[in-house]
């Protein structure tokens, strides 16, 4: 419906400019074109879905069946044992309490990191959009350019800083690191959003005597909830999926889920249990996948807003 409406309005617009034949061109339903179009899309879609399917199927098989059969065949006997083992008793080094430890570590890392980084970046973006001060843009440019500096360059100085403060190896340290490295993209996101809001709104609030924090809390914050949701999606997936910072700034007992997963699957000792490995892999991917499937269009919007400037 919306499609037809937009077509006819732009057709009207065209009519005003063009002198040629007017009105929308009738669209032929060329079946060969459609077969090619949908055929290609379906084949590509199957290719994209294949790894997910194989992951799920493998995690539901027993090891004897995996050794015999083919990775694409559905399980003959469904077993949830690999899932239980991956969650509760898979071993990394001396710890044999499964991925659950990593899961809770990741929760304890992700929640404060998301809150802190968004709080900092939103206020920051607001200051940059509405309360410019001398030199602010210089810092902002440094921040954005800094987003492209390979993390490897800054890893070690941060280790030293955290060690000096005494929080190297703790979850607090990692939370701070995530807040630092989330800042460029989030600040850009919020700055662009606040800049696009009508200037009159801000002026009116100032005339009424509202200050920096008043305008932020009572006007900007309630009016920009969608962008906060976008930022939350961006950060939850980003921080949950992080590996490098986790491996550098935490110790084995505080490892996030991704690091622990890698240690479980790529451990050299013992017999490889592919079904447990795949169950563990799905478990680790589950949180961002759920976020992705629930958020749908907002996820896409976050990407587009973060990447292509509006």
């Amino acid at each position: 419906m919306a499609d037809v409406a937009s077509l006819s309005t732009s057709a009207q617009a065209l009519r005003r400019h063009a002198t040629g034949p007017s009105g929308p061109k009738p669209r032929h339903v060329l079946s060969r074109r459609n077969i090619f179009l949908y055929g290609t899309l379906i084949v590509v879609a199957l290719y994209y879905l294949l790894p997910l399917y194989v992951m799920i199927v493998t995690s539901l098989k027993g090891m004897p069946e995996i050794r015999l059969g083919n990775i694409f065949s559905p399980p003959m006997e469904i077993t949830f044992e690999p899932w239980v083992k991956a969650w509760a008793s898979a071993c990394t080094g001396l710890n044999c309490d499964g991925l659950s430890r990593g899961f809770w570590n990741s929760v304890r890392i992700t929640v404060p990191s998301v809150l802190l980084s968004i709080a900092i970046a939103s206020v920051n973006g607001y200051a940059l959009a509405n309360w410019r001060f001398k030199g602010a843009d210089t810092f902002f440019i440094i921040l954005i350019v800094g987003a492209f500096i390979p993390y490897q360059v800054m890893i070690y100085p941060i280790v030293i800083i955290l060690r000096e403060i005494g929080i190297y190896g703790t979850l607090t340290g990692l939370v701070i690191v995530h807040s630092i490295f989330g800042m460029p993209i989030l600040t850009l996101l919020f700055r662009n959003y606040f800049t696009s809001m009508p200037e009159e709104l801000f002026r009116a609030a100032r005339v009424d005597g509202a200050g920096f924090w008043g305008i932020y809390l009572r006007i900007m914050l309630p009016m920009s909830l969608p962008i906060f949701v976008v930022a939350i999606i961006l950060q939850v997936t980003g921080i949950w999926n992080d590996f490098l910072f986790g491996v550098v700034y935490t110790r084995p007992d505080t490892y996030p889920m991704t690091v622990q997963l890698n240690n479980i699957v790529n451990s050299v000792q013992g017999v490889k249990e592919y079904n447990v490995n795949m169950a563990a892999t799905i478990l680790t991917g589950l949180v961002p996948l759920i976020v992705y499937f629930i958020s749908g269009k907002l996820f896409v919007r976050g990407i587009a807003a973060g990447a292509v400037k509006g």
Binding site: I120, F139, P150, F212, F299, I303, A307
Partner: protein, 297 residues
């Protein structure tokens, strides 16, 4: 907080300045300070602990005569070329297909983009399993009758980097598709109509009208892909751990291993400085055009 020459001015915008302290600290201490620190210490012979004992370009000489570093650079170039070309081409083609006013567009887009929600670790481990020669694709095809079929990129040092690229493309093309789709949607409908009225075939319209119009989108996408290429680390760690041997090493892994395992900080700093250098060459002109030029307008 350095502009204290005029107190009234400092006071007027105090809240905004206080709110910007985290940004200023991050920008100055971590981004500028940290980078400068690493570059400075790359000229020292620091081993287990950073020491200011300058040895000139020694670390760089050592770096460029280490075969593992040379392999890493070669891998990065191959991986980079593949990512750049294929993710741009596939991403654009998928976006163009989705832009044909098709049904179930949301479903297709959701499917193409979901790998992007997964971490590189998860991606790497799934593809490690799929490409496992004893159980994965090779075994399946052999069971179908082609007993001599061979496809084991992760165990063959001459093609291992392609195996990693396959996984990277699976994970990342959805993002490029989304960016391209946003770009295509930004093209005025009238342009398409005008081209159709003039009888220009669709592929020509894409090639000569739409793509040139999407130049800013392409540049942004290019920068995003390029930045991602240099950072590639977790994917390799998960999929091959750099193996077989050193065949799939990448610079980021070289840095990490020398800093935290080999206890040869100087080498790690020199290698990370080389990574920085490669990014600077790409980013600085772009950032200048993007953010420096706009204010004057």
């Amino acid at each position: 907080m350095s502009n204290s020459e005029r107190p009234s001015k400092l006071f007027r915008n105090l809240n905004a300045k206080v709110a910007s302290i985290p940004m200023v600290l991050t920008a100055l201490v971590v981004f500028v300070g940290g980078t400068a620190w690493t570059v400075l210490y790359s000229f020292t012979n620091s081993k287990l602990l950073p020491r200011l004992n300058f040895v000139g370009l020694d670390q760089y000489h050592r770096l460029w005569s280490t075969s593992r570093w040379l392999v890493s650079i070669e891998n990065l170039l191959i991986y980079g070329a593949i990512s750049l070309v294929f993710s741009l081409v596939i991403g654009f083609l998928l976006a163009a297909l989705l832009d044909q006013k098709i049904r179930f567009e949301d479903t297709f887009r959701t499917i193409f983009l979901y790998p992007f929600a997964l971490s590189f670790i998860v991606t790497g481990l799934v593809w490690q399993w799929l490409l496992n020669p004893d159980f994965g694709v090779q075994r399946v095809v052999r069971d179908l009758g082609w007993t001599s079929f061979s496809f084991d990129p992760l165990y063959n040092s001459s093609i291992v980097i392609y195996g990693i690229s396959i996984a990277a493309l699976w994970q990342g093309t959805g993002l490029i598709m989304c960016l391209m789709l946003a770009g295509l949607r930004g093209i005025d409908e009238d342009i398409w109509k005008a081209a159709r009225v003039d009888g220009i075939p669709a592929w020509k319209t894409y090639l000569f009208i739409v793509i040139p119009m999407m130049r800013p989108v392409f540049i942004t996408t290019l920068v995003i892909i390029a930045a991602g290429i240099v950072k590639v680390y977790d994917l390799v760690v998960a999929q091959t751990s750099g193996g077989p041997g050193i065949a799939s090493e990448v610079p980021a892994k070289y840095v990490y291993d020398y800093m935290f395992f080999a206890q040869n900080l100087g080498q790690g700093f020199a290698a990370s400085t080389m990574m920085l250098l490669s990014v600077v060459i790409v980013i600085v002109p772009w950032a200048y055009l993007e953010f420096g030029g706009k204010k004057r307008g």
